[in-house]
């Protein structure tokens, strides 16, 4: 594109040669088109992003300053929503739940993924591709279907997990009612959905590690476990950072599982025991018609995710520069 473009004439020359011959002008406008073209190609994304991403984000900041009924009036109240919010125990409860569920789902999930990736990377594994593909099945299964199955597994009276516990003389646990048990239940669903995705990412990274590094380690007398700790983990560092960042952003926004388990109602259990920040935001906005207050939750969640992303970024930059 650049190669075919004629040399640019300076603005001054352009002005003096106002009566330029027709063909030359056409070439000039074509060159302008050429300069403009890349923007045209990326425009669809940015146009859609502006409409569905940027505008709602900015507008949320605006709405958060109002007492805003979606089907009624709006009154400007400044930062009152935020003042109320930071004194609202339901908000702090949702915050605790979010972090608890995030840690309970992310940590085991990434460890499991690393372990499975290691297994799947074994050269002696038969039907390796079949097993690798299978990892993705939970990821592509609808969350709703997953939630229905897991909710029934975790059921108090007829759940499979409780029947199993009963075999060992352990009393049935009311997973939905108890705070910690409900976090385990939600985290299990999140873990189930994402572990395959992370496994495949780790697997791809594992396959990129040159074989001779392992051979050298083996010659130096490192066993399987030592190789894993001193060769595999350091080589995977950038990928591990990537998965931690993605899981953090996703984990802070967990919504669908608690929403579906909460139905009917949006409180995430009678004691709000598994209501996450996203669900609290939804409850305030769409359940209680308090768009302003819900937006204040959204803005806070946004800020929280920005802070975590920055921490992650700084951390990963330091680790990369260590190398």
């Amino acid at each position: 594109m650049v190669l075919s473009a004629p040399p640019r004439s300076s603005p001054a020359r352009q002005r003096t040669k106002s009566a330029a011959p027709q063909p030359r002008r056409r070439i000039k406008s074509a060159s302008r088109m050429d300069a403009f073209a890349p923007y045209m190609y990326i425009a669809p994304f940015f146009a859609l992003f502006a409409v569905f991403g940027l505008f709602p984000t900015v507008f949320t900041f605006y709405v958060a300053l109002f007492d805003w009924n979606p089907i009624g009036g709006q009154t400007f109240i400044g930062f009152e929503n935020f003042v109320t919010l930071y004194g609202d125990e339901r908000f702090w409860n949702a915050m605790r739940n979010t972090f608890s569920i995030w840690i309970l789902s992310t940590v085991p999930q990434l460890l499991l993924a690393l372990f499975l990736a290691q297994l799947l990377n074994n050269a002696r594994l038969k039907f390796a591709n079949l097993f690798r593909m299978t990892m993705l099945v939970p990821y592509i299964t609808s969350v709703v279907a997953t939630t229905i199955v897991f909710a029934s597994l975790f059921g108090r009276d007829y759940g499979l997990i409780n029947s199993f516990l009963n075999l060992f003389g352990i009393e049935s646990i009311d997973f939905a009612a108890n705070t910690f048990a409900s976090h385990i239940m939600v985290s299990t669903m999140v873990l189930w959905r994402w572990f395959g995705y992370n496994t495949l990412i780790y697997l791809a990274a594992l396959q990129a590690i040159p074989k001779d590094v392992y051979e050298a380690a083996a010659i130096d007398g490192a066993g399987g476990f030592k190789q894993f700790i001193f060769v595999t983990i350091p080589s995977l560092r950038p990928v591990i950072i990537f998965t931690v960042i993605v899981s953090t952003i996703g984990g802070l926004q967990i919504f669908t599982e608690p929403l579906l388990l909460s139905s009917p109602g949006l409180t995430g259990g009678a004691g709000r025991q598994f209501q996450t920040l996203s669900l609290f935001m939804y409850e305030q906005g769409f359940g209680d018609f308090k768009f302003g207050y819900g937006s204040a939750v959204g803005v806070t969640l946004f800020g929280l995710i920005v802070v975590f992303s920055v921490i992650n970024y700084l951390l990963s930059r330091r680790i990369t520069s260590d190398e």
Partner: protein, 422 residues
């Protein structure tokens, strides 16, 4: 949480999008008028829609079922917030106070002749569709009424009477009801009722003159109204007497429990008969219907509204008038069990002689008619549902043993204050 409800939620998500996409056009073709009608599951209106379509070839009914009443309310909120809306929208009574607090979003049906049909409906049911400024926002659909559905086989095993009149006579008051539950626990070791919210608090709190509001939007009485505290007390007594099987309504365990006999009694509005017979078809003939303590109650019902953006309010109103006429409501009741909200039917042979085979041929017509006649109009303000949720959630926490009963009332009041303050 049941699979059915989850599926509904998902369908509703899609439906909401379809609704928003669909209602923007409203193009009328060949002089025909299209009426956009938004309903939700369980209203039992499908045959009536078909009949109307047949009788009115010039009107095209475009019916969209949003799923459940929650999804419908959310879809309608989204549409109204975007300055759109269908021609007719059903709103469940639980959401009605929230919507009618903003009456400018709806056509005041008095301008279309609602005053002329007001006397056709139960007065308290009519008032659920009237906004604080007096404008009529919605016309009542069916009325829930309330009775206690009980398992005769389980009652027999517990040494309790099984005849419906004798069972009704067991519990003229809520205290008696709780005593019967205690006897049942002693005899069988099981809880008699499904949960205290549905079986005790909800019916009991609606038996007074007032609930959470006095007579206006600003007149909050939830913390001072003795009726609320009394109903709350009954629920706590029931938990203390251990008469509950702690099975949340609409959960999968609830559906299973109807089949397996995990509980023997559940509060059953008229429309619930259909639900029970669908969820527990193998228990046909093992159920019967008795009166609810204090003999009055309601659970459910909807209003049909016309959003202000409707292009055809006259036609929409004529359609609603036809759809909710006594004749039509009788047909709907006979086919689906949704009880009519038009009292002129109650003394007719159609209702008086109506029995249900599934419920041991119980005369459900007169039982439900009796339960709705003595209800008084209760003023419901805009935060009605928020207050209700906070109180019911507190009771569930106590029922599940997650919070001590001693602090339940102050906790409930604190939760309401927090919910209202947010």
């Amino acid at each position: 949480m049941s699979a059915k409800r989850i599926a509904r939620t998902v369908i509703a998500g899609g439906a909401a999008l379809a609704l928003l996409a669909g209602c923007s056009g409203g193009g009328d073709t060949d002089g025909k008028i299209t009426l956009d009608v938004w309903t939700f599951g369980g209203m039992g209106l499908d045959e009536a829609f078909a009949t109307y379509q047949e009788e009115n070839p010039d009107i095209i009914l475009k019916v969209t079922n949003a799923g459940g009443s929650d999804e419908q309310a959310q879809a309608l909120t989204t549409a109204l917030a975007g300055g759109k809306g269908p021609d007719v929208a059903a709103i469940e009574v639980g959401y009605m106070s929230q919507f009618k607090a903003q009456p400018q979003n709806f056509v005041d049906l008095r301008t279309l002749g609602a005053d002329d049909i007001e006397d056709t409906y139960l007065d308290w049911r009519w008032s659920q569709g009237v906004a604080a400024d007096g404008s009529v926002v919605g016309i009542p659909t069916d009325v829930g009424g309330l009775a206690m559905a009980y398992r005769t086989d389980l009652f027999e095993a517990a040494g309790l009477p099984t005849d419906r009149d004798e069972v009704s006579a067991l519990w003229p008051t809520w205290d008696d009801f709780i005593d019967v539950g205690a006897q049942y626990r002693e005899a069988t070791g099981k809880g008699m009722i499904d949960n205290v919210n549905s079986a005790i608090f909800n019916p009991a709190v609606r038996q007074g003159d007032e609930m959470y509001y006095g007579s206006s939007d600003d007149d909050l009485v939830y913390d001072s109204n003795p009726d609320v505290q009394e109903a709350f007390g009954y629920a706590l007594d029931a938990i203390d007497a251990d008469i509950t099987s702690r099975t949340p309504s609409w959960s999968e365990a609830w559906n299973a429990g109807m089949n397996n006999g995990d509980f023997a009694v559940l509060a059953a509005p008229s429309w619930m008969m259909t639900y029970i017979s669908q969820q527990a078809p193998d228990t046909a003939g093992k159920w019967d219907i008795a009166a609810v303590p204090e003999n009055a109650g309601n659970w459910g019902g909807s209003q049909l509204t016309i959003p202000a953006k409707s292009d055809h309010p006259e036609e929409a109103f004529a359609f609603i008038e036809w759809l909710m006429s006594p004749e039509r409501q009788l047909e709907i009741f006979q086919a689906h069990g949704n009880f009519p909200s038009t009292p002129e039917l109650y003394e007719t042979a159609d209702i008086q002689n109506f029995t249900s085979e599934f419920f041991s041929d119980a005369p459900v017509g007169p039982i439900y008619a009796n339960s709705v006649k003595s209800i008084k109009p209760i003023f419901e303000g805009p935060q009605q549902r928020i207050i209700d949720t906070a109180i019911l959630n507190t009771l569930s926490q106590v029922e599940n043993g997650e919070e001590p009963a001693a602090d339940a009332w102050p906790n409930a009041m604190k939760n309401v204050t927090t919910a209202l303050g947010g």
